[in-house]
């Protein structure tokens, strides 16, 4: 029998749309690839997400509301922080950085929560926990923070900030001068490093056993860059190294003039009477 008008039209429309789909798909795929490559689109791994957040949240993420979900999680993490629920904070930041992998501040904040806040809380918050256990937990949190930052660095290899944060944790929380120095060095090579980063590299290289010579040469290079670099720590670190490396007296840098130093510290002070 003859097909009705509606059936005919439906078939025609589906065929038209199919042809359009076939024609546009290569174009769209190429555009999507290009956009992903230039960082305009972030492809979020949904399998990882859907186990952590609900299906509807995954839909929101895919539907173009990724930043909104990240905001929600940030607020959620903030709340968890105030109740010291560190596991929640950790989970939230893992999700936030999955959603916004290029957002340096989120990597930084997440690591800060783990390596500083959670680790300190593990040590001091619960008096019932034996000290040894507390210490171990605290160290675990520090290591988690480090691992977290390393993931962030994987995603943003050029970020000076993340290397510097990592170096700070090695320096302050684990007292590992060699590792700290290594990451200050990487921070120096990243984009837009802060001006103090090279000095810090020198300071902690100086503390790294076996690398004193290298550190001395580097710090002297900074020293010769002029007055701007000659901060008290730099001078004292060079002096330490001069002792350690037995630098001949003729090559040693002069002692700072105490009067000048005082004036540097207190610019409004009157010069000492002659």
């Amino acid at each position: 029998m003859k097909f009705g008008r509606t059936t005919r039209k439906t078939v025609a429309v589906l065929a038209l749309l199919l042809v359009f789909g076939l024609l546009r798909t290569p174009l769209e795929s190429r555009m999507t690839e290009k956009f992903v490559a230039s960082g305009l689109i972030t492809e979020v791994s949904t399998s990882q997400l859907s186990s952590a957040v609900g299906q509807s949240t995954v839909l929101a993420v895919l539907g173009g509301l990724r930043p909104l979900v990240a905001i929600y999680l940030t607020l959620h993490a903030f709340d968890a922080w105030s109740y010291r629920e560190w596991d929640t904070v950790e989970r939230d930041y893992r999700l936030i950085t999955t959603l916004l992998p290029e957002d340096i501040d989120s990597w930084k904040t997440g690591a800060w929560h783990m390596a500083y806040n959670a680790s300190a809380s593990a040590l001091y918050d619960d008096p019932d926990i034996p000290e040894a256990v507390g210490k171990k937990n605290s160290r675990d949190w520090i290591l988690k923070g480090i691992e977290f930052l390393k993931r962030g660095i994987e995603q943003n290899p050029d970020s000076s900030t993340l290397h510097q944060e990592l170096a700070d944790i090695y320096r302050q929380k684990l007292e590992e001068p060699c590792l700290a120095a290594r990451h200050y060095k990487l921070a120096m090579e990243g984009d837009r490093p802060r001006s103090f980063v090279p000095r810090f590299y020198g300071y902690f290289l100086a503390r790294c056993p076996g690398r004193e010579r290298e550190a001395y040469d580097f710090l002297m290079e900074l020293y010769h860059q002029g007055e701007k670099q000659r901060l008290p720590t730099l001078i004292s670190r060079i002096k330490e190294l001069e002792e350690k490396l037995d630098v001949p007296a003729t090559h040693r840098i002069p002692d700072p003039d105490p009067d000048v130093e005082i004036l540097k510290k207190y610019p409004h002070a009157k010069p000492a009477l002659p």
């Binding site: 539907g63 903030f78 802060r194």
Partner: protein, 309 residues
């Protein structure tokens, strides 16, 4: 009958009605716009203003750049929700309502080609969304600018008080914050939101030309919208599971081809986040959106042209 009279009747027999008139489309566009505005659509802008004000007063202990980014993300999130929700709802409501009120009869009984009617409705919805987006952008930019200025001043003060930082360091720090502040690039994000809403409206119009009810149109359009964001991702999985089976060939693949792919339009998120975007990429996006709208409007017309009321 005299010749003059004859000539006159002759002339009046085939009146000169242009077959396509941008003027008429504009009349229909403006009437749709007026209709939507008088449906109190723009009250949404008040909600938006409150939301942006709230987001810009959110003082969590985060970095200044994060505070700005959060304000941007919240505002653009609200703008994109508004635009696609509105594109679906308004487009789904308009044509059935004209039919129910029999306004459609009186309009189509005037010398109005059906293509012009459809385009008038589509453009009316787009104009409303466009105006709303521009107003929201202006509101939002005001808040962001104010926030940026305050945050920058506070940060400068804090950095100077902290000491140990060279002026260049401070400058670099402030630069990072400015990068999250008011930037021309945000306009591209606005354009991307608008383009996506345009495609959504065209899809909805297509659905509404064969759907039997407003509710059905809304549901189908929403499903297409949602599925259009992940079907290409899911396709890999399904096709992998199904292999080369008949189901895969006859059902899954065609469905995936038919449903529009909205992923490309999600550039908004990263443009807002500060990823630089080239004019070329924007033009490609505009081209794709126009292609979608043209094809969907054409298919909608094919369904609508001999529809009976």
């Amino acid at each position: 009958m005299s010749e003059a009279a004859n000539a006159e009747t002759e002339e009046r027999t085939v009146p000169r009605v242009p077959l396509f008139s941008p003027g008429r489309i504009w009349v229909l566009t403006m009437s749709t716009f007026t209709q939507l505005v008088r449906m109190k659509t723009f009250y949404f802008l008040i909600i938006f203003a409150v939301l942006v004000a709230a987001a810009s007063n959110l003082n969590l202990l985060y970095t200044p750049a994060q505070k700005l980014r959060m304000l941007k993300d919240a505002s653009f999130g609200a703008m994109s929700i508004f635009s696609w929700l509105f594109a679906i709802a308004a487009t789904a409501v308009l044509i059935p309502r004209d039919l129910e009120d029999r306004t459609l009869y009186t309009i189509l009984a005037k010398p109005v080609p059906r293509l012009e009617y459809l385009l008038g409705k589509l453009f009316g919805v787009l104009l409303t969304i466009g105006v709303a987006l521009v107003v929201m952008q202006v509101l939002f930019t005001g808040f962001l600018f104010f926030r940026e200025v305050t945050v920058l001043a506070a940060e400068r003060q804090a950095l100077e008080a902290q000491g140990g930082m060279s002026p260049e360091d401070i400058q670099a720090q402030l630069e990072l914050i400015r990068a999250q502040g008011v930037q021309w690039q945000l306009l591209y994000a606005l354009v991307a939101i608008f383009l996506k809403a345009g495609v959504v409206a065209a899809v909805t119009m297509l659905v509404s030309t064969f759907a039997s009810s407003t509710l059905f149109t809304m549901i189908v359009a929403t499903i297409i919208f949602l599925v259009g964001h992940f079907h290409k991702l899911a396709a890999g999985y399904w096709l992998h599971e199904l292999g080369d089976s008949l189901v895969a060939k006859l059902v899954v693949k065609p469905v995936i081809m038919i449903i529009p792919d909205f992923r490309v339009f999600n550039v908004t998120e990263n443009i807002v986040g500060g990823t630089p975007v080239t004019t070329g990429a924007m033009l490609a996006l505009v081209g794709l959106a126009l292609l979608y709208m043209a094809v969907y409007s054409a298919v909608a017309l094919y369904l609508f042209i001999d529809k009976e009321f």
